[in-house]
């Protein structure tokens, strides 16, 4: 079926089955490979994108269910004020190790901060619990989210 998708502010016309997950539309049809496959059943968070600003797992979100929602991916999140602050905090806190899960981590973090400007540790753990990182970057993810919540300012040296 033919669909018109609003991805990162651009309209893309694609022709795929109605039950095609957005993950594969983004990666294989549109060519935005920043969103990652990790499990295919919404258990790891690597595929997290935004639908109208809310974090969703694109591996279980069909193109049909996306409707006319605005889709945003890691490739464009840096163009939003919160996204840019989060990415910078990620760099300064040196969150990343292998990098594979980090697109999803950042998308979840930005959605959290959009909904809750000053999250507590508990809020962060709750919002991020669906995003697995095998490298164990969790302490720095938490630090980076707090830093981003403060608008990027830091109380320490980032260690």
């Amino acid at each position: 079926m033919a669909y018109s998708l609003n991805v990162n502010g651009r309209i893309h016309s694609v022709d795929v089955d109605a039950d095609t997950p957005l993950l594969w539309v983004l990666r294989d049809v549109i060519g935005l490979t920043g969103t990652k496959f990790g499990c295919g059943v919404a258990q790891c968070g690597a595929c997290t994108i935004h639908l109208d600003g809310h974090a969703v797992r694109s591996c279980v979100t069909t193109i049909e269910s996306a409707g006319s929602s605005a889709i945003m991916t890691i490739e464009a999140i840096g163009s939003t004020p919160k996204g840019s602050v989060v990415q910078r905090a990620w760099l300064e806190e040196e969150v990343v190790q292998c990098g594979y899960c980090q697109s999803g981590q950042i998308m979840s973090a930005v959605a959290l901060l959009n909904a809750n400007a000053m999250p507590s540790d508990g809020d962060i753990d709750d919002a991020m619990s669906g995003n697995i990182c095998r490298c164990g970057t969790y302490p720095r993810i938490r630090a980076a989210i707090k830093k981003a919540a403060r608008g990027g300012s830091n109380t320490g040296n980032g260690g």
Binding site: G38, Y100, S129, C135, T137, G158
Partner: protein, 786 residues
């Protein structure tokens, strides 16, 4: 220390691409005309294949080809190999059963590869795979590690009793004598639980064949692309090495599981020529659970002899190691030479004897997983030491201190010569950071709230940078374990470093550039690190066993020395001075004792334009290579202290404090090292509290999704108190010891020692889930429960 030199907390150069979604992993590559592979896997743990009918599948929509083991055999494609030969006590070689990339006549674990379908789309390939008719004669399976040699079930014909080898290390007679004169003997039975590596990036492969040049290219999720090429060429027989290019681009975590050469990549690159199209495969998560090589799975009985003063006299260990259904690439080395030589821990133990029985079972192959053998050894030693201290009524910290090695170099009874360390210093610092002296007050405070608080120590040691090549060769390794580097200076003074190490989370693009910046005095931005492509890097052994710093960077340092030496020759010509008078300091070549200098970039340019010297006297250009073979392992060590609080009503264990004091030798980038420590602890805590791969008796993996296999998450981890001590390694030019596996090695015994301290008894196994802990609490408090 310069802002970007050795020791500086430089932020990682590679991270910009990862936080913007621009990293390029194997599945992000697509080639024109590519087809998709899907592997039909065995649903049975053990079965004879009477027949495979691929006919119906071949006619399904979109199907390009269907292949079975017979097709590989017809093309003389060999099986997968195990690259480390272990000999049993009686001198006989290990019993290596056949390991075809696609099954030939028999399947030996659930997930074993039966056939491959290649189709226009992945969905079509999956649909067609369902149409393949396999007639199985299902056989009984053996899955239990302890039972493997006591069953009529036979996994491989070469081994009637499923034994791979019966190996030993150490001096049995001396150890028996030590036990004979012991005042006290501490005994323990341990299971080191089976783990699934679960790198977030699933394994993937994209094979391509160029009919014009007869060249193959394989994009694969590998920690060591050159080793993959060597095996695929020399043993599997895909193509000569010069006709096979292996590219391992950004790799989304390895933890050991991407060292090995697997069936899927073998089939994809072979099939690309057969179907005349690129062939791509990416594992789904179930396939990762079923067929990535698992880790650990040891069953151990160990005993420690002590004298009347609590000094350790001897250690004897018997371990059964489950290697799964096939011998994966380095599987045989893990429970042997990566395990038993670590059994001396940080302790002066006069006599050690270890026997290891490796067994086949109808389960996924088991191979190296973060730490590989060393976590298993540390778990044995640190659980025994803790228990011995308790039995002797001694403080666990002081019992350890009393038995620490204090003189270096130290020869253990199990091969290793520790070059340097200061274990007491790490313990002192850890005790202070952990506020050990007030632990009793905290325990009382917990008790007032009805909670059980415990503290656990882990004085771990690991051996990194496995080497020298000559030594490992004598122990059975099929490869050398050096590393190579090439430093290419461009005419404008920028530098490319080609390294045989591979970065999949370690930050080499930053740390390696820091070394170059430090040595050549050039900005870090003028240094590029090239890795992961056999067409670019001449050869390399890859990244595992925390070897990239100690071995890989030492090779770079050696090549940099040659660059500087050549630069001096060039500078001497340009400055019209004698070469012996030229010194290189702060990024400048100059005549000693004068202010006449040339910048590094000036010398690079002069080397290439070659106007100031005769090409007959001095070769133009500035490019040097080096192979570095270490003289010894490195021995990182440290003390981790875990403090837990258990809720006896729910069995939930909460880690309240974690103190890690590590001695990694010289540190290149403290930010990156700390990140590695965090990650290692997370995996170690995962093993201790959450993770465990479970097969049922029929050989079905019942923990084959993130729903059933509990991965550590943010809420499972405390914030860490991290401290460092430094004794520079003496066996490599940079003094580096390595840091990648420390946390995963140190953490499990620290957690279990803390839990057993809280419980007041030793009867808890990993993973110490809330259910397991709750049950253990009931054992402790039958009276209190009334």
């Amino acid at each position: 220390m310069s802002a970007t030199g050795i020791g500086a907390p430089v932020r990682r150069k590679e991270d910009q691409r990862f936080v913007t979604g621009q990293g390029r992993y194997v599945d992000d590559f697509n080639r024109p005309g590519q087809a998709y592979a899907y592997f039909l896997r065995s649903p049975h743990a053990h079965a004879t294949i009477r027949s495979i009918d691929t006919g119906p599948a071949r006619t399904m929509p979109g199907v390009v080809a269907v292949f079975t083991g017979d097709d590989l055999a017809a093309d003389k494609i060999g099986g997968l190999i195990c690259g480390w030969m272990i000999h049993s006590k009686d001198g006989s070689p290990m019993k290596a059963g056949p390991h075809p990339a696609l099954a030939q006549g028999k399947v030996r674990y659930v997930g074993d590869h039966v056939a491959v379908v290649i189709a226009e789309t992945l969905a079509q390939a999956k649909d067609a795979a369902e149409a393949i008719e396999v007639d199985y004669d299902v056989l009984p399976a053996v899955v239990n590690t302890s039972e493997a040699t006591k069953t009529p079930v036979q996994v491989h014909e070469v081994s009637p009793d499923n034994s791979v080898f019966n190996w030993h290390l150490g001096n049995k007679d001396e150890t028996e004598a030590a036990f004979a004169r012991a005042k006290h003997v501490t005994k323990i039975d341990l299971v080191n639980n089976r783990l699934v590596p679960n790198a977030l990036e699933p394994r993937a492969a994209l094979g391509e064949y160029d009919f014009g040049t007869d060249n193959y290219t394989l994009y694969t999720t590998s920690q060591n692309p050159h080793v993959a090429r060597l095996v695929l060429s020399a043993f599997v027989g895909i193509a000569p090495e010069n006709k096979l290019r292996v590219i391992a681009p950004d790799v989304g975590g390895g933890f050991g599981s991407k060292i090995f050469i697997y069936a899927e990549e073998t089939v994809c690159v072979w099939a690309a020529k057969k179907v005349k199209r690129p062939v791509k495969w990416t594992a789904d998560r179930s396939e990762a659970f079923l067929s990535d090589a698992h880790g650990r799975d040891h069953v151990t009985h160990a005993e420690m002899a002590t004298d009347e003063n609590g000094k350790i006299l001897g250690l004897r260990v018997h371990t059964i190691a489950n290697l799964g259904a096939y011998l994966s690439t380095f599987s045989s080395s893990v429970p042997t030479y990566l395990y038993a030589p670590l059994l001396s821990g940080q302790y002066d133990i006069p006599a050690i004897y270890c026997e290891v029985d490796a067994v086949y079972t109808n389960t996924a192959p088991v191979d190296a997983y973060r730490g590989a053998g060393r976590p298993e050894a540390t778990f044995v030693v640190e659980r025994l030491v803790e228990r011995a201290a308790r039995e002797l009524g001694q403080d666990p910290a002081e019992f350890r201190r009393k038995n620490y090695i204090t003189q270096f170099p130290h020869q253990t009874p199990v091969i290793m010569t520790y070059d340097t360390g200061d274990y007491g210093a790490s313990l002192d610092k850890a005790l202070e950071l952990a506020d050990y002296k007030n632990f009793g007050a905290r325990k009382q405070e917990s008790a007032r709230r009805g909670k059980l608080r415990g503290i656990g120590f882990s004085s771990y040691i690991e051996a990194c940078g496995i080497a020298p090549s000559q030594a490992v060769g004598s122990l059975g390794a099929g490869v050398g374990l050096w590393e190579s580097a090439e430093v290419r200076v461009n005419p404008t003074g920028s530098v490319e470093v080609l390294t045989g190490s591979h970065s999949h989370g370690q930050g080499h693009e930053t740390t390696f550039a820091q070394l170059v910046s430090d040595r050549l005095g050039i900005p870090i931005d003028q240094v590029s690190i090239v890795h992961g492509d056999t067409d670019k890097v001449q050869f390399g052994m890859g990244t595992y066993g925390s070897r990239s710093g100690a071995v890989g960077m030492s090779a770079i340092a050696k090549a940099l020395d040659k660059v500087i030496a050549k630069g001096k020759k060039v500078a001497a010509h340009v400055l019209e001075a004698s070469e012996g008078d030229i010194e290189f300091k702060d990024g400048k070549f100059g005549i000693a004792g004068t202010d006449r200098t040339l910048g590094f970039g000036d010398v690079a340019l002069q080397a290439y334009i070659a106007h100031k010297f005769s090409g007959q006297d001095l070769e133009p250009g500035l490019k040097e290579g080096a192979f570095y073979d270490p003289t010894n392992f490195t021995f990182p060590a440290g003390v981790h202290i875990c403090e837990v609080e258990i809720d006896p009503d729910t069995g939930v264990t909460k880690i309240e404090r974690w103190t890690a004091v590590d001695d990694f030798g010289v540190i290149i980038n403290p930010m990156i090292v700390e990140g590695q420590v965090h990650g290692g602890i997370a995996q170690g805590v995962g093993q201790a509290l959450l993770e465990g791969a479970v097969y049922d008796q029929s050989g079905q993996l019942v923990t084959a999704s993130f729903n059933d296999y509990c991965m550590p998450r943010a809420m499972d981890l405390p914030s860490f108190q991290i401290g460092m001590t430094v004794t520079p390694c003496t066996s490599n030019p940079l003094g580096i010891k390595g840091c990648g596996e420390a946390g995963a090695i140190a953490a499990p015994p620290a957690v279990i020692n803390a839990i057993t301290d809280a419980l007041g008894h030793e009867d808890i196994a990993m993973p110490a889930t809330p259910q397991a802990v709750w049950r253990a609490v009931q054992k402790r408090m039958p009276v209190a429960a009334e």
